[in-house]
């Protein structure tokens, strides 16, 4: 028994060290990618694309369900995105509030006999509207079918060869689209998808649909999530992108080639992680056809989103996310260490399964087995505490690298803001981290399904002014 307890304790340590080594390698590669991206941003005349007739046109597709609190401001904000050729397609997913009437009034929408190409099957369409104002806006009013179904309806109505899938409660940075589409223009034949850099807007000041001041949020729960976003979007995804093995283009900002989305059948209705599901299906589809393609990430394509401000909302979100991951792990089990799926099958998906999907199980068992091992005398308390502290410091080191890399964007100019964030690096292990582990274990244990339209209480991010 003691041998088992000792062995398991070492297994937990080995697992954690392997995770930290992988995170460190990803952060180093991400740092190189971010430096190159900065060079391109400064010297590659990206802004010339804004006045260029040669820019590939984009349809911004926005699913909306009961978004009356902020839909008009959000669409106005999207309409001000700097890009020469784009349209906005909103799919109203059978909202029961005033979402549609507000859109009709604000944008002078008129019903049109728009013959929708039903490339992807969706819930029935009630009516298509177009704006009479000088904004290329189409609104598809449809029966309720969930976020994925609404996205599919909007993609059916999209005119342009590229679609940007986003949400109605985000603020897209003015230059985000041009930075994302630069990667498309750079290699138009191969690029089928571009992901954006999602940042929490909590604590930031927003005026007239634009971010005017970025600050670290007030509560520890929100700061913890900010740190998580930095670790993922700043210190990991640039590296995955450089190896062409991104397992996920975020639902808050994902540019896809429309024909590829249609070919794979669009988003999967009712899926809790429809963005990961679509990204992985695109990988699998193109790999199976031996197509030379790439899906990349643009750190400069920044989109701001509101993260759960309370533990209760965060809990619901994390349970939903982990269920989405569980479904994806089941659906794409054939990609696990599958050389035919290229770097996705051999690198990023195994890492995702072993260090994201299994992480809560290993960590949770560690919290149980290691104290038992101490009580049974299999592991000395000093050694166990020492191991735990090593784990904490190694994690902190990687988190601090993420904060350092984030300096490239120039947010949080007041050093006091950075100190607030750095404090989270060390205290996240005193409860916050364990809390999310427990929620993910709860997600694995099953229970009542959460709603497919997200868990946030709509506050209207475009009106946030903290």
């Amino acid at each position: 028994m003691n041998t088992f307890l000792t062995g398991f304790s070492w297994l937990v340590l080995g697992y954690f060290l392997a995770l930290q080594v992988i995170l460190l390698l990803l952060a180093i590669v991400s740092g190189i990618v971010l430096y190159r991206d900065r060079m391109v941003e400064r010297f590659a005349r990206v802004e010339d694309m804004l006045a260029s007739d040669l820019a590939p046109p984009v349809s911004i597709v926005v699913p909306a369900y009961n978004e009356a609190a902020g839909i008009v401001e959000a669409i106005r904000s999207m309409g001000m995105v700097s890009y020469p050729r784009f349209e906005i397609v909103v799919a109203n997913d059978g909202s029961t509030d005033a979402t549609l009437s507000l859109l009709i009034e604000a944008f002078e929408l008129v019903p049109v006999p728009y013959p929708l190409r039903a490339n992807i099957p969706t819930a029935p369409i009630r009516q298509v509207y177009k704006s009479r104002l000088p904004i290329r806006l189409t609104v598809v009013d449809k029966e309720n079918g969930g976020r994925a179904d609404a996205l599919n309806a909007a993609i059916n109505a999209a005119r342009y060869p590229y679609v940007l899938a986003t949400d109605a409660d985000v603020i897209i940075d003015g230059s985000a689209l041009v930075h994302a589409m630069r990667l498309v223009a750079e290699d138009r034949d191969r690029t089928v998808g571009v992901g954006g850099n999602v940042r929490p807007i909590n604590g930031c000041r927003v005026r007239h649909g634009h971010l005017v001041d970025a600050s670290v949020p007030a509560t520890m729960v929100e700061r913890y999530q900010l740190l998580e976003y930095l670790r993922s979007f700043i210190a990991s995804r640039p590296a995955w992108s450089s190896m062409n093995c991104l397992p996920l283009l975020s639902g808050a900002f994902g540019v896809f080639r429309r024909d590829v989305v249609v070919d794979v059948g669009g988003y999967t209705s009712g899926h809790f992680g429809e963005d990961m599901d679509l990204t992985m299906r695109v990988h699998r589809y193109l790999r199976a056809r031996k197509v030379d393609y790439r899906m990349v990430y643009s750190p400069s394509a920044i989109v701001w989103t509101e993260v759960p401000p309370t533990r209760a909302v965060l809990r619901r979100q994390r349970i939903r996310w982990h269920r989405g991951l569980m479904t994806a792990v089941r659906d794409f089990r054939s990609s696990f260490f599958n050389p035919r799926h290229g770097p996705v099958g051999m690198i990023s998906w195994p890492v995702m399964v072993v260090f994201e999907y299994l992480a809560p199980i290993v960590e949770f068992l560690g919290y149980i087995v290691v104290p038992v091992a101490m009580l049974a005398g299999a592991v000395s308390p000093i050694n166990a505490i020492g191991l735990y502290l090593i784990a904490v410091f190694a994690g902190a080191f990687n988190s601090l690298i993420a904060i350092l890399l984030d300096e490239r964007f120039g947010y949080f100019n007041n050093p006091r803001e950075t100190l607030k964030l750095m404090a989270v690096v060390f205290v996240e292990n005193l409860g916050l981290r364990q809390m999310t582990v427990w929620w993910r274990i709860r997600a694995m244990m099953g229970g009542k399904a959460t709603q497919v339209w997200g868990d946030m209480e709509r506050r209207g991010v475009t009106q946030m002014a903290s």
Binding site: P113, P115, R117, R132, G386, A394, L404
Partner: protein, 375 residues
């Protein structure tokens, strides 16, 4: 605690605390550097502004100015903002302070690429005819950002001799670089038309760089000079669909009467994208005589072609009558295309208002009745 564990703990703690200290220091230093840059730039803005307004060059400008990137940036910004005699004064100031020599020397350096590129960005804005040779040399640089900026500089200086080498370079470049080079050439305006047409003729004869031929045709469209019409018509009559597409798009902006007949022929093109673009071009160029030909496209099997034909008809004299007649067509796709454009152009809305106010004509009545069954 055994030794390995102790060492691991000490190392990880030291690494984390060192990193925390490094982040704090870098944050503070970065903030101070940014502030210092702001102050320095502000001083240069004030000093150069004063010199421009008084038309006074410093008797012996400090040598440090020529080596200071913030001075280069300020000069570039002033040169872009000012015109006429003020701009000439900035050019003189750049010459007197010896900025050009420093910039060329930095561009020629093989190390510190960021510093090199920053110097080239300033040189592109501040260069004059004396630097054409340097900029042509940079077209062969191994760094793609250097090549793009060199093209910008040559285009700004209106160097016609470089146009054909630039198009040759675009043929060997990735699509992003080729597009930026095309943007730069388009900014040259009419002066670039003749060399571009000459290059297209040579490339077509050699059967080389088909992608850049299409790009060159689009540049001609962006410039919009009628001198390019003959070249574009010859591309419209070629056997390559991408050339025909680019030519039909470009003729929308450059074409005259001579382009109408080939564009009418293009309405029967086997490639749907060519038919769609030809419809748009005819809507912009032609008169009501092309209305019946465009009306035939309302029954095309491709959605885009029908929509573009309907959009072209809305802008054509008598075109709305054709769209109204189409509402009686047995082809439901043609009716949808016509009705869609009548709605988006506001004609349906206006007709509905007149019906509501009792001042409707028979035509209004017909339009509203037809729409009621469809919308």
């Amino acid at each position: 605690m055994d030794w390995t564990l102790t060492i691991g703990l000490v190392v990880s703690a030291a690494a984390a605390l060192t990193m925390a200290l490094a982040v704090t220091v870098i944050k503070v230093v970065h903030g101070e550097v940014m502030r210092w840059r702001g102050v320095r730039t502000a001083h240069y803005i004030a000093a150069v502004g004063e010199m421009v307004s008084r038309r006074l060059l410093p008797a012996s400008p400090p040598r440090s100015w020529a080596h200071d990137t913030y001075f280069h940036d300020v000069l570039s910004d002033y040169r872009l903002l000012l015109t006429g005699a003020d701009r000439e004064f900035i050019d003189r100031l750049a010459t007197e302070t010896g900025v050009h020599a420093v910039l060329v020397a930095r561009c020629d350096a093989r190390w510190l690429q960021a510093r090199r590129l920053r110097a080239l960005s300033s040189l592109v804005d501040l260069a004059d005819e004396r630097h054409v040779g340097d900029l042509r040399r940079y077209l062969g640089d191994s760094n793609r950002h250097v090549r793009i900026n060199a093209v910008r500089g040559l285009a700004r200086l209106g160097d016609k001799v470089s146009i054909e080498p630039i198009l040759d370079l675009a043929a060997q470049s990735r699509s992003w670089e080729a597009a930026r080079m095309a943007d730069a050439l388009a900014e040259m305006g009419s002066v670039a038309v003749e060399p571009i047409c000459h290059w297209i003729a040579a490339a077509v004869a050699r059967d080389e760089a088909p992608g850049v031929v299409a790009l060159a045709a689009r540049i001609l469209g962006l410039i919009g000079d009628p001198e390019a019409e003959a070249t574009l018509i010859s591309l419209l009559e070629s056997d390559r669909p991408d050339w025909r597409l680019a030519a039909s798009s470009a003729l929308e902006h450059t074409g005259g009467d001579a382009a109408v007949a080939p564009l009418l022929t293009a309405l029967d093109d086997p490639a749907w994208s060519v038919r769609a673009r030809a419809a748009v071009a005819l809507g912009a160029l032609a008169d009501s005589s092309v209305g019946p030909s465009l009306a035939l496209l309302l029954t095309d099997r491709v959605w885009w072609v029908r929509q573009n034909a309907a959009e072209a008809l809305v802008g054509l004299p008598g075109g709305t009558d054709i769209l109204l007649d189409t509402l009686d067509s047995p082809d439901r796709f043609a009716v949808d295309a016509a009705l869609n454009q009548l709605t988006l152009s506001g004609l349906l809305g206006e007709a509905s208002e007149r019906v509501a106010h009792g001042s409707a004509t028979a035509r209004d009545q017909r339009l509203v009745e037809k729409a009621a069954g469809r919308v």
